[in-house]
Amino acid sequence: MHSNNHLPEPILWLQLIAVCMIAIGLYLIAMVISNRRFRKSWSIWKTLSFGIGVVFIFSAIIGPYAINAHSDFYAHMTNHLLLGMLAPILIAFASPVTLFLRVLNVKTARRVTEWMKSWPILLLTHPLVAALLSVGGLWILYTTSLYALMQQNVLLHMFVHVHVFIASYLFTISIISFDYLPHQWSFRFRSIVLLLALAAHGILSKYLYAHPPEGVSRIGAEKGSMLMYYGGDASEILLILIFCTQWYKSTKPRVSTSTHSFV
Protein backbone atom coordinates (compact mmCIF):
# COMPACT_ATOMS: atom_id res chain seq x y z
CA MET A 1 0.00 0.00 0.00
CA HIS A 2 2.79 2.32 0.91
CA SER A 3 4.81 1.69 -2.23
CA ASN A 4 1.69 2.43 -4.24
CA ASN A 5 1.49 5.89 -2.77
CA HIS A 6 5.15 6.55 -3.33
CA LEU A 7 5.13 5.54 -6.98
CA PRO A 8 4.14 8.85 -8.57
CA GLU A 9 6.46 10.86 -6.37
CA PRO A 10 9.67 10.85 -8.47
CA ILE A 11 7.73 12.41 -11.35
CA LEU A 12 6.19 14.90 -8.94
CA TRP A 13 9.65 15.77 -7.64
CA LEU A 14 10.95 16.48 -11.12
CA GLN A 15 7.98 18.72 -11.77
CA LEU A 16 8.57 20.52 -8.48
CA ILE A 17 12.26 21.02 -9.22
CA ALA A 18 11.24 22.49 -12.57
CA VAL A 19 8.81 24.89 -10.87
CA CYS A 20 11.56 25.88 -8.45
CA MET A 21 14.01 26.63 -11.30
CA ILE A 22 11.36 28.57 -13.22
CA ALA A 23 10.54 30.72 -10.17
CA ILE A 24 14.19 31.62 -9.61
CA GLY A 25 14.73 32.10 -13.36
CA LEU A 26 11.79 34.50 -13.68
CA TYR A 27 13.00 36.50 -10.72
CA LEU A 28 16.49 36.79 -12.24
CA ILE A 29 15.11 37.85 -15.62
CA ALA A 30 12.93 40.46 -13.91
CA MET A 31 15.96 41.71 -12.02
CA VAL A 32 17.95 42.12 -15.25
CA ILE A 33 15.10 43.99 -16.97
CA SER A 34 14.61 46.20 -13.92
CA ASN A 35 18.33 47.00 -13.74
CA ARG A 36 18.31 48.06 -17.39
CA ARG A 37 15.29 50.29 -16.89
CA PHE A 38 16.12 51.95 -13.58
CA ARG A 39 19.27 53.71 -12.53
CA LYS A 40 19.13 52.20 -9.06
CA SER A 41 19.87 48.51 -9.39
CA TRP A 42 17.80 45.87 -7.65
CA SER A 43 19.26 44.76 -4.30
CA ILE A 44 21.43 41.66 -4.54
CA TRP A 45 20.32 40.76 -0.99
CA LYS A 46 16.72 40.61 -2.10
CA THR A 47 17.67 38.32 -4.97
CA LEU A 48 19.68 36.11 -2.63
CA SER A 49 16.82 36.05 -0.15
CA PHE A 50 14.41 34.97 -2.86
CA GLY A 51 16.71 32.16 -3.96
CA ILE A 52 17.18 30.82 -0.43
CA GLY A 53 13.47 31.15 0.27
CA VAL A 54 12.53 29.14 -2.83
CA VAL A 55 15.11 26.48 -2.01
CA PHE A 56 13.68 26.26 1.54
CA ILE A 57 10.16 25.78 0.19
CA PHE A 58 11.09 23.07 -2.22
CA SER A 59 13.49 21.29 0.08
CA ALA A 60 10.69 21.17 2.65
CA ILE A 61 8.45 19.50 0.09
CA ILE A 62 10.88 17.25 -1.76
CA GLY A 63 14.09 17.15 0.26
CA PRO A 64 15.41 14.28 2.37
CA TYR A 65 13.41 15.46 5.34
CA ALA A 66 10.20 15.21 3.37
CA ILE A 67 10.74 11.49 2.93
CA ASN A 68 11.05 10.92 6.67
CA ALA A 69 8.21 13.28 7.41
CA HIS A 70 5.71 10.61 6.43
CA SER A 71 6.61 8.65 9.51
CA ASP A 72 8.42 11.14 11.70
CA PHE A 73 6.61 14.03 13.32
CA TYR A 74 9.89 15.75 14.21
CA ALA A 75 10.99 15.78 10.56
CA HIS A 76 7.53 17.00 9.57
CA MET A 77 7.91 19.88 12.01
CA THR A 78 11.34 20.76 10.60
CA ASN A 79 9.69 21.10 7.20
CA HIS A 80 6.95 23.27 8.58
CA LEU A 81 9.50 25.52 10.22
CA LEU A 82 11.18 26.07 6.84
CA LEU A 83 7.92 26.33 4.95
CA GLY A 84 5.77 28.29 7.36
CA MET A 85 8.20 30.53 9.18
CA LEU A 86 11.55 31.10 7.47
CA ALA A 87 10.61 30.95 3.78
CA PRO A 88 7.76 33.51 4.09
CA ILE A 89 10.06 36.05 5.76
CA LEU A 90 12.75 35.52 3.10
CA ILE A 91 10.28 35.81 0.22
CA ALA A 92 8.58 38.84 1.78
CA PHE A 93 11.97 40.55 2.03
CA ALA A 94 12.63 39.70 -1.63
CA SER A 95 9.62 41.91 -2.55
CA PRO A 96 8.47 39.99 -5.65
CA VAL A 97 5.47 42.29 -6.24
CA THR A 98 7.61 45.42 -6.36
CA LEU A 99 10.02 43.75 -8.77
CA PHE A 100 7.12 42.57 -10.91
CA LEU A 101 5.69 46.10 -11.04
CA ARG A 102 9.08 47.49 -12.06
CA VAL A 103 9.27 45.36 -15.20
CA LEU A 104 5.75 46.17 -16.40
CA ASN A 105 4.96 49.22 -18.47
CA VAL A 106 3.29 52.04 -16.58
CA LYS A 107 -0.19 51.33 -17.90
CA THR A 108 -0.17 47.63 -17.00
CA ALA A 109 1.51 48.30 -13.66
CA ARG A 110 -1.28 50.75 -12.83
CA ARG A 111 -3.87 48.13 -13.73
CA VAL A 112 -2.16 45.62 -11.44
CA THR A 113 -2.04 48.03 -8.51
CA GLU A 114 -5.73 48.84 -9.10
CA TRP A 115 -6.50 45.13 -9.05
CA MET A 116 -4.57 44.77 -5.79
CA LYS A 117 -6.95 47.26 -4.20
CA SER A 118 -9.90 44.95 -4.85
CA TRP A 119 -11.69 43.51 -1.85
CA PRO A 120 -10.52 39.89 -2.14
CA ILE A 121 -6.88 41.00 -1.90
CA LEU A 122 -7.67 43.42 0.92
CA LEU A 123 -9.46 40.62 2.74
CA LEU A 124 -6.68 38.05 2.29
CA THR A 125 -3.99 40.48 3.43
CA HIS A 126 -6.02 41.63 6.44
CA PRO A 127 -3.87 40.68 9.48
CA LEU A 128 -6.73 38.94 11.29
CA VAL A 129 -7.85 36.92 8.26
CA ALA A 130 -4.28 35.93 7.43
CA ALA A 131 -3.62 34.95 11.05
CA LEU A 132 -6.74 32.78 11.09
CA LEU A 133 -5.76 31.16 7.80
CA SER A 134 -2.26 30.32 8.96
CA VAL A 135 -2.45 29.54 12.69
CA GLY A 136 -6.11 28.46 12.48
CA GLY A 137 -5.09 26.13 9.66
CA LEU A 138 -2.45 24.57 11.89
CA TRP A 139 -5.01 23.95 14.63
CA ILE A 140 -7.25 22.17 12.12
CA LEU A 141 -4.32 20.19 10.71
CA TYR A 142 -3.10 18.82 14.03
CA THR A 143 -6.26 18.47 16.08
CA THR A 144 -8.41 16.71 13.47
CA SER A 145 -7.71 13.60 11.43
CA LEU A 146 -6.36 15.75 8.58
CA TYR A 147 -2.76 15.05 9.60
CA ALA A 148 -3.33 11.27 9.37
CA LEU A 149 -5.20 11.69 6.06
CA MET A 150 -2.45 13.73 4.43
CA GLN A 151 0.04 10.91 5.12
CA GLN A 152 -2.10 8.65 2.93
CA ASN A 153 -2.60 10.96 -0.01
CA VAL A 154 0.19 12.60 -1.98
CA LEU A 155 -2.02 15.32 -3.45
CA LEU A 156 -3.52 16.22 -0.09
CA HIS A 157 -0.01 16.26 1.33
CA MET A 158 1.05 18.71 -1.36
CA PHE A 159 -2.05 20.84 -0.82
CA VAL A 160 -1.37 21.14 2.91
CA HIS A 161 2.23 22.18 2.25
CA VAL A 162 1.22 24.79 -0.30
CA HIS A 163 -1.49 26.09 2.03
CA VAL A 164 0.97 26.38 4.92
CA PHE A 165 3.32 28.43 2.80
CA ILE A 166 0.71 30.71 1.20
CA ALA A 167 -1.16 31.37 4.44
CA SER A 168 2.08 32.10 6.32
CA TYR A 169 3.26 34.34 3.51
CA LEU A 170 0.01 36.35 3.59
CA PHE A 171 0.33 36.66 7.35
CA THR A 172 3.96 37.79 7.08
CA ILE A 173 3.23 40.51 4.51
CA SER A 174 0.22 41.68 6.52
CA ILE A 175 2.50 42.25 9.54
CA ILE A 176 5.82 43.45 8.10
CA SER A 177 6.12 45.66 5.05
CA PHE A 178 8.95 45.25 2.58
CA ASP A 179 6.86 44.83 -0.52
CA TYR A 180 4.11 46.85 -2.19
CA LEU A 181 0.80 46.39 -0.39
CA PRO A 182 -2.09 48.83 -1.01
CA HIS A 183 -3.26 48.95 2.57
CA GLN A 184 -1.15 48.48 5.68
CA TRP A 185 -2.89 48.52 9.06
CA SER A 186 -1.69 50.60 12.02
CA PHE A 187 1.28 49.37 14.05
CA ARG A 188 -0.91 49.06 17.14
CA PHE A 189 -3.48 46.82 15.44
CA ARG A 190 -0.80 44.73 13.77
CA SER A 191 1.06 44.27 17.06
CA ILE A 192 -2.10 42.97 18.77
CA VAL A 193 -2.78 40.49 15.95
CA LEU A 194 0.86 39.40 15.91
CA LEU A 195 0.78 38.84 19.66
CA LEU A 196 -2.41 36.75 19.46
CA ALA A 197 -1.07 34.70 16.55
CA LEU A 198 2.20 33.99 18.38
CA ALA A 199 0.27 32.98 21.49
CA ALA A 200 -2.04 30.67 19.51
CA HIS A 201 1.03 29.07 17.95
CA GLY A 202 2.69 28.54 21.35
CA ILE A 203 -0.50 27.17 22.91
CA LEU A 204 -0.93 24.70 20.05
CA SER A 205 2.64 23.43 20.45
CA LYS A 206 2.17 22.80 24.17
CA TYR A 207 -1.22 21.22 23.54
CA LEU A 208 0.35 18.79 21.02
CA TYR A 209 2.94 17.80 23.62
CA ALA A 210 0.20 16.15 25.64
CA HIS A 211 -2.26 15.39 22.82
CA PRO A 212 -0.41 13.78 19.88
CA PRO A 213 -2.10 14.13 16.46
CA GLU A 214 -3.71 10.97 15.10
CA GLY A 215 -1.08 8.38 14.18
CA VAL A 216 1.80 10.12 15.98
CA SER A 217 3.60 8.38 18.83
CA ARG A 218 3.87 10.03 22.25
CA ILE A 219 7.65 10.46 21.96
CA GLY A 220 7.30 11.76 18.40
CA ALA A 221 4.72 14.31 19.54
CA GLU A 222 6.89 15.44 22.45
CA LYS A 223 9.95 15.98 20.24
CA GLY A 224 7.96 17.59 17.45
CA SER A 225 5.99 19.92 19.69
CA MET A 226 9.12 21.15 21.46
CA LEU A 227 10.70 21.90 18.10
CA MET A 228 7.50 23.73 17.11
CA TYR A 229 7.65 25.72 20.36
CA TYR A 230 11.34 26.70 20.41
CA GLY A 231 11.83 26.83 16.65
CA GLY A 232 8.71 28.97 16.51
CA ASP A 233 10.21 31.26 19.14
CA ALA A 234 13.39 31.71 17.14
CA SER A 235 11.63 32.75 13.95
CA GLU A 236 9.14 34.85 15.91
CA ILE A 237 12.05 36.86 17.32
CA LEU A 238 13.11 37.59 13.75
CA LEU A 239 9.58 38.69 12.84
CA ILE A 240 9.25 40.89 15.95
CA LEU A 241 12.69 42.46 15.33
CA ILE A 242 11.74 43.39 11.78
CA PHE A 243 8.35 44.70 12.93
CA CYS A 244 9.92 46.85 15.67
CA THR A 245 12.63 48.16 13.34
CA GLN A 246 9.93 49.28 10.93
CA TRP A 247 8.03 50.96 13.78
CA TYR A 248 11.23 52.68 14.94
CA LYS A 249 11.93 54.03 11.46
CA SER A 250 8.35 55.20 10.96
CA THR A 251 8.16 57.18 14.23
CA LYS A 252 11.42 59.00 13.58
CA PRO A 253 10.89 62.60 14.69
CA ARG A 254 10.80 64.94 11.69
CA VAL A 255 13.06 67.49 13.34
CA SER A 256 15.38 65.50 15.55
CA THR A 257 14.16 67.30 18.72
CA SER A 258 16.23 69.72 20.77
CA THR A 259 19.69 69.12 19.31
CA HIS A 260 18.43 70.08 15.88
CA SER A 261 16.36 73.07 16.95
CA PHE A 262 19.26 75.13 18.18
CA VAL A 263 21.90 74.21 15.67
Partner: protein, 163 residues
Protein backbone atom coordinates in the same frame (compact mmCIF):
# COMPACT_ATOMS: atom_id res chain seq x y z
CA UNK B 1 20.19 77.92 26.63
CA UNK B 2 16.99 78.92 28.44
CA UNK B 3 15.04 77.75 25.42
CA UNK B 4 16.72 74.34 25.40
CA UNK B 5 16.00 73.47 29.01
CA UNK B 6 12.37 74.42 28.48
CA UNK B 7 12.24 72.19 25.43
CA UNK B 8 13.79 69.27 27.30
CA UNK B 9 11.37 69.69 30.20
CA UNK B 10 8.39 69.79 27.90
CA UNK B 11 9.46 66.51 26.33
CA UNK B 12 10.00 65.01 29.79
CA UNK B 13 6.36 65.55 30.66
CA UNK B 14 5.17 64.40 27.26
CA UNK B 15 7.09 61.16 27.39
CA UNK B 16 6.65 60.45 31.09
CA UNK B 17 4.15 57.67 30.47
CA UNK B 18 6.26 56.21 27.68
CA UNK B 19 9.13 55.93 30.19
CA UNK B 20 6.82 54.12 32.62
CA UNK B 21 5.30 51.73 30.09
CA UNK B 22 8.56 51.10 28.26
CA UNK B 23 10.10 50.14 31.59
CA UNK B 24 7.03 48.07 32.51
CA UNK B 25 7.27 45.99 29.34
CA UNK B 26 11.00 45.57 29.77
CA UNK B 27 10.67 44.41 33.39
CA UNK B 28 7.93 41.94 32.47
CA UNK B 29 9.98 40.58 29.61
CA UNK B 30 13.14 40.22 31.68
CA UNK B 31 11.40 38.38 34.52
CA UNK B 32 9.73 36.04 32.03
CA UNK B 33 13.09 35.53 30.34
CA UNK B 34 14.83 34.68 33.65
CA UNK B 35 11.97 32.31 34.45
CA UNK B 36 12.36 30.61 31.08
CA UNK B 37 16.16 30.34 30.90
CA UNK B 38 17.28 29.96 34.52
CA UNK B 39 14.49 27.83 35.96
CA UNK B 40 13.41 25.87 32.87
CA UNK B 41 16.57 25.47 30.82
CA UNK B 42 19.48 25.67 33.25
CA UNK B 43 18.20 24.33 36.57
CA UNK B 44 15.44 22.16 35.07
CA UNK B 45 13.32 22.97 38.11
CA UNK B 46 10.22 23.71 36.06
CA UNK B 47 8.71 21.33 33.55
CA UNK B 48 7.87 22.13 29.93
CA UNK B 49 4.40 20.77 30.44
CA UNK B 50 2.98 19.56 33.72
CA UNK B 51 0.19 17.02 33.25
CA UNK B 52 -2.01 18.81 35.78
CA UNK B 53 -2.13 21.97 33.65
CA UNK B 54 -5.67 23.20 33.00
CA UNK B 55 -6.77 24.46 29.59
CA UNK B 56 -7.08 28.02 30.82
CA UNK B 57 -3.59 27.66 32.30
CA UNK B 58 -2.25 26.66 28.90
CA UNK B 59 -3.86 29.71 27.30
CA UNK B 60 -2.56 32.04 29.99
CA UNK B 61 0.94 30.59 29.72
CA UNK B 62 0.92 30.88 25.92
CA UNK B 63 -0.27 34.47 25.98
CA UNK B 64 2.33 35.49 28.53
CA UNK B 65 5.09 33.67 26.71
CA UNK B 66 4.32 35.45 23.43
CA UNK B 67 3.82 38.74 25.25
CA UNK B 68 7.18 38.49 27.00
CA UNK B 69 9.10 38.08 23.75
CA UNK B 70 7.28 40.98 22.24
CA UNK B 71 7.65 43.11 25.38
CA UNK B 72 11.40 42.61 25.68
CA UNK B 73 12.14 43.45 22.05
CA UNK B 74 9.48 46.16 21.74
CA UNK B 75 10.56 47.94 24.92
CA UNK B 76 14.19 48.02 23.77
CA UNK B 77 13.06 49.89 20.68
CA UNK B 78 10.94 52.21 22.86
CA UNK B 79 14.04 52.87 24.96
CA UNK B 80 16.02 53.76 21.84
CA UNK B 81 13.15 56.03 20.76
CA UNK B 82 13.16 57.83 24.15
CA UNK B 83 16.91 58.42 23.85
CA UNK B 84 16.47 59.69 20.31
CA UNK B 85 13.96 62.22 21.64
CA UNK B 86 16.13 63.09 24.68
CA UNK B 87 13.18 62.15 26.84
CA UNK B 88 14.62 59.28 28.85
CA UNK B 89 14.10 59.46 32.64
CA UNK B 90 16.12 56.65 34.23
CA UNK B 91 14.34 56.56 37.59
CA UNK B 92 10.87 56.51 36.11
CA UNK B 93 11.90 53.83 33.60
CA UNK B 94 13.38 51.66 36.37
CA UNK B 95 10.21 52.21 38.41
CA UNK B 96 8.21 50.96 35.45
CA UNK B 97 10.55 47.98 35.03
CA UNK B 98 10.19 46.96 38.69
CA UNK B 99 6.42 47.32 38.46
CA UNK B 100 6.24 45.18 35.31
CA UNK B 101 8.61 42.54 36.65
CA UNK B 102 6.98 42.43 40.08
CA UNK B 103 3.45 42.24 38.70
CA UNK B 104 4.33 39.41 36.35
CA UNK B 105 6.18 37.48 39.04
CA UNK B 106 3.30 37.86 41.48
CA UNK B 107 0.80 36.76 38.81
CA UNK B 108 3.03 33.82 37.91
CA UNK B 109 3.59 32.84 41.54
CA UNK B 110 -0.03 33.05 42.65
CA UNK B 111 -2.47 32.62 39.76
CA UNK B 112 -0.38 30.61 37.28
CA UNK B 113 1.44 28.33 39.73
CA UNK B 114 -1.23 27.89 42.39
CA UNK B 115 -4.65 28.56 40.85
CA UNK B 116 -4.10 27.28 37.31
CA UNK B 117 -1.45 24.73 38.33
CA UNK B 118 0.60 25.30 35.16
CA UNK B 119 3.72 24.05 36.92
CA UNK B 120 5.46 24.43 40.28
CA UNK B 121 8.75 26.18 41.00
CA UNK B 122 10.44 22.90 41.90
CA UNK B 123 9.43 19.29 42.19
CA UNK B 124 9.98 16.65 44.90
CA UNK B 125 10.80 19.21 47.58
CA UNK B 126 8.77 21.13 50.16
CA UNK B 127 7.44 23.90 47.94
CA UNK B 128 6.42 26.38 50.66
CA UNK B 129 9.75 28.24 51.17
CA UNK B 130 10.15 28.55 47.38
CA UNK B 131 6.68 30.02 47.02
CA UNK B 132 7.27 32.45 49.91
CA UNK B 133 10.59 33.72 48.52
CA UNK B 134 9.11 33.97 45.01
CA UNK B 135 6.10 36.02 46.02
CA UNK B 136 7.88 38.20 48.59
CA UNK B 137 10.48 39.15 45.96
CA UNK B 138 7.58 40.10 43.69
CA UNK B 139 5.94 42.24 46.38
CA UNK B 140 9.29 43.89 47.17
CA UNK B 141 9.68 44.88 43.51
CA UNK B 142 6.19 46.35 43.40
CA UNK B 143 6.75 48.36 46.60
CA UNK B 144 10.10 49.70 45.31
CA UNK B 145 8.35 50.59 42.05
CA UNK B 146 5.65 52.48 43.94
CA UNK B 147 8.19 54.76 45.62
CA UNK B 148 10.22 55.35 42.46
CA UNK B 149 7.14 56.17 40.42
CA UNK B 150 5.70 58.41 43.12
CA UNK B 151 9.00 60.24 43.29
CA UNK B 152 9.29 60.81 39.57
CA UNK B 153 5.63 61.73 39.31
CA UNK B 154 6.05 64.69 41.71
CA UNK B 155 8.95 65.83 39.57
CA UNK B 156 6.81 65.95 36.46
CA UNK B 157 4.12 67.84 38.37
CA UNK B 158 6.80 70.38 39.28
CA UNK B 159 7.47 70.78 35.61
CA UNK B 160 3.82 71.52 35.09
CA UNK B 161 3.99 74.19 37.80
CA UNK B 162 7.19 75.53 36.30
CA UNK B 163 5.55 76.00 32.97
Amino acid sequence: MEKTSKHVKASLTNYSSRNLWGGFLFGLGVVAFIDETVFHQLLHWHHFYDKSTTDIGLVSDGLFHAFSWFATIGSSFMLADLHRRHAFVLKRWIGGALLGGGTFQLYDGTIQHKLMQIHQIRYNVDITPYDVVWNITALGMIIAAYFLLKNTNIRTEEHHAFK
